[in-house]
Amino acid sequence: MAVDAISATELTVDYDGVTAIKDVDFTVRAEKLTAIVGPNGAGKSTLIKALLGLIPTSTGIISCFGASPKQYRKNISYVPQRAQIDWEFPVNVFDVVSMGLYGELGLLRRFSSAHKNRVHSALTDVDMADFAARQISQLSGGQQQRVFLARSIVQDAELILLDEPFGGIDAKSETVIVDILRRQNQNGKSIVAVHHDLSTVKDYFDDVILLNKTVTAFGPVNNVFTKANIEKTYGVSNLDFLTGCG
C-alpha cells in the first residue's frame, strides 16, 4: 500500500472563463473506498474530468500511482452517470462489457473465447450473467449500473472512478452495488466515487474528500467527516440529523 492512488497538488481548473476548482490538494489512499462530496456546482465533475485527463489544468499536478494520468489511462476505469448514456443505443449487456476490452484489443485483434470468458466472469461478479443478451434499454436502473460496473471489472483497472453511482436507484440495488464495490476493493482495487447522499458516506466509504471549489478537508471518514467540515463545505448549519457526526 505504498503509492497513493491519486495525488493532487495545487490543482486549479478554469473552464469556460470560470474558475471551477482552485488550489485543490488531496491524496486518495490506494486500496480504499473514497467518496467525493460537495454541493451542486462544487466542481466535482470538473475534478473527475481533470483526473481522467480530459480537460487541461491551469496549474497543479495530478498523479495516479505515481504516474501522470495520460500515462496511466489504461489503468483507470470510469463509470459514467446514468443520465449521460444513450440507453436507446443498439447494444446489449454483453457488448457493453466487451467495450471494456477495446483498449487491449486495439483495432483488429480478434475477440477470442478467452475474452468472452472474461466478459462472462465479470457479468457473474455483478450477478448479471443471465442478462447477457438483453438490450440495455430493457434494464432497470440498478441493472444498468451493474453492467457498467462489470465493464470496469473486465478492464481489471486498479482505479475505478464512479460518477454518482447510486443516483436514481432503489435501495436493494444500492445494497447490491455496494457489495460489488466492497468485493472489488478486497481484490485490491481503489474506488473513488462522487457521492451525493451524505447519510451513507460513513457506512460505505473509508475516506472522503469534501469539495466546494476548494477542498475543505480530506482523509479517513472518522476523522474528517465532521459536522463542522460538512457545514463549512455546504455553507449551511443545523445538520444534526446526520447521524454519527460531530
Binding site: 480530459l54 470510469y78 443498439p90 467495450m99 483498449g103 438490450q135
Partner: protein
C-alpha cells in the same frame, strides 16, 4: 433495348451499388452519432466551393470542366463549413443546431449567388454545375465509376477497421478516450468519412439528396438490428440495394432522374420496415 443491360446502365449500376454500400456503412455511424443534420449542412456547404472550382478550372484554361478541381473545391468549402460550425459551437453562446442552420443557409445561399454570377461571367457550360445539385447518373463515365468505386471501398474499409473505436466513441466518449482513441480524432474521422461520401455522392444523387443516402438506410437498419455490427452491415446492404434498384428502374422507364428514384426506393423500404416491425412488436 437490344441487350439485357446496356453498358451505360451497367456503369451506373456498379457505381451506385458501391456508393450505396459505403454511404450506408458510414451513414450507420452518422445516424448513431445523431449527426444527420450535420451531414446535410456539410452537403449544402459544398456549393460555393464547387462553383469556385469551376471558375478556377475554366480560367486556368482546363478544357474539360475538370471534375477533380470541382470536387476539390467542394471538399474544401465543406471542410470550411465544418470548421465554422465547430467554431460557432465552441466559441459563441449559439448552440449546435443554430450553427448547423447558419452554415447550411449561408454557404448554400452564397453558392446560389455565385451560380447566378457565373452566368454573367459568360464562360459557359455552367449547366454542368446543376448536375452536382441534383445529380446526373446519365452522364456517368468509366473514370467516374473508377473513382467512386475506389473511394467507396476505402470508406467502407475504414469503417470496418475503426468500428470498435467509432462505436465506443459514439456510445461513451470517455471510455474511448481512456482506451487511447482521443475524442477529437474520432470525431474528425467520422466528419472526414461523411465529407468524402458527400463528395462522391454529388455526381450520383446531387448535394440536396446526399443526406438521404447517409440517413435513410441507417434508420431502416436500426429497426431491424440490435447491435452496431449488424446495423451497419444492414445499412450498407439497404443502401446498396436501393441504389441498384433505383438505377435499374430509371434505365427501364423514360424521363426518370436516377438520384430521386433511388431516394424514393429507400424511403419505401423505410416505410415498409416501420410497418412490419411495428406489427411484429419490435423488441429493439
Amino acid at each position: 433495348m437490344t441487350e439485357l443491360i446496356g453498358y451505360n446502365t451497367a456503369l451506373a449500376l456498379v457505381g451506385a451499388l458501391l456508393f450505396g454500400f459505403s454511404s450506408g456503412h458510414v451513414g450507420a455511424f452518422v445516424y448513431l452519432r445523431k449527426a444527420s443534420l450535420l451531414s446535410d449542412s456539410l452537403a449544402h456547404a459544398t456549393l460555393p466551393g464547387l462553383i469556385i472550382g469551376f471558375l478556377v478550372s475554366t480560367f486556368l484554361g482546363m478544357e474539360e470542366k475538370n471534375s477533380w478541381v470541382l470536387l476539390l473545391g467542394a471538399g474544401a468549402s465543406a471542410l470550411l463549413g465544418v470548421v465554422v460550425i465547430q467554431w460557432i459551437t465552441a466559441r459563441t453562446k449559439l448552440g449546435f443546431d443554430t450553427a448547423i442552420a447558419a452554415v447550411l443557409s449561408v454557404f448554400f445561399g452564397s453558392g446560389i449567388v455565385l451560380l447566378t454570377g457565373v452566368q454573367s461571367v459568360s464562360v459557359g457550360q455552367q449547366a454542368g454545375l446543376e448536375d452536382y445539385i441534383l445529380g446526373s447518373v446519365s452522364g456517368m463515365l468509366l473514370q467516374d465509376v473508377f473513382f467512386i468505386g475506389l473511394v467507396s471501398i476505402i470508406c467502407s474499409a475504414a469503417v470496418v477497421v475503426y468500428r470498435r473505436p467509432l462505436t465506443a466513441f459514439i456510445f461513451d466518449p470517455v471510455l474511448s478516450e481512456l482506451a487511447g482513441y482521443a475524442q477529437h480524432r474520432m470525431s474528425f474521422l467520422l466528419s472526414l468519412l461523411t465529407l468524402v461520401i458527400t463528395i462522391i455522392g454529388l455526381k450520383i444523387v446531387g448535394l440536396i439528396l446526399v443526406v438521404a443516402m447517409l440517413t435513410i438506410p441507417a434508420a431502416t437498419a436500426r429497426l431491424w438490428s440490435t447491435c452496431v455490427w449488424s446495423m451497419s452491415s444492414l445499412s450498407a446492404l439497404f443502401g446498396s440495394a436501393s441504389a441498384g434498384i433505383g438505377v435499374i428502374i430509371s434505365a427501364l422507364l423514360p424521363n426518370l432522374p436516377s438520384g430521386a428514384v433511388i431516394v424514393v426506393i429507400m424511403f419505401i423500404a423505410l416505410g415498409l420496415s416501420i410497418v412490419v416491425t411495428h406489427l411484429r412488436g419490435s423488441n429493439v
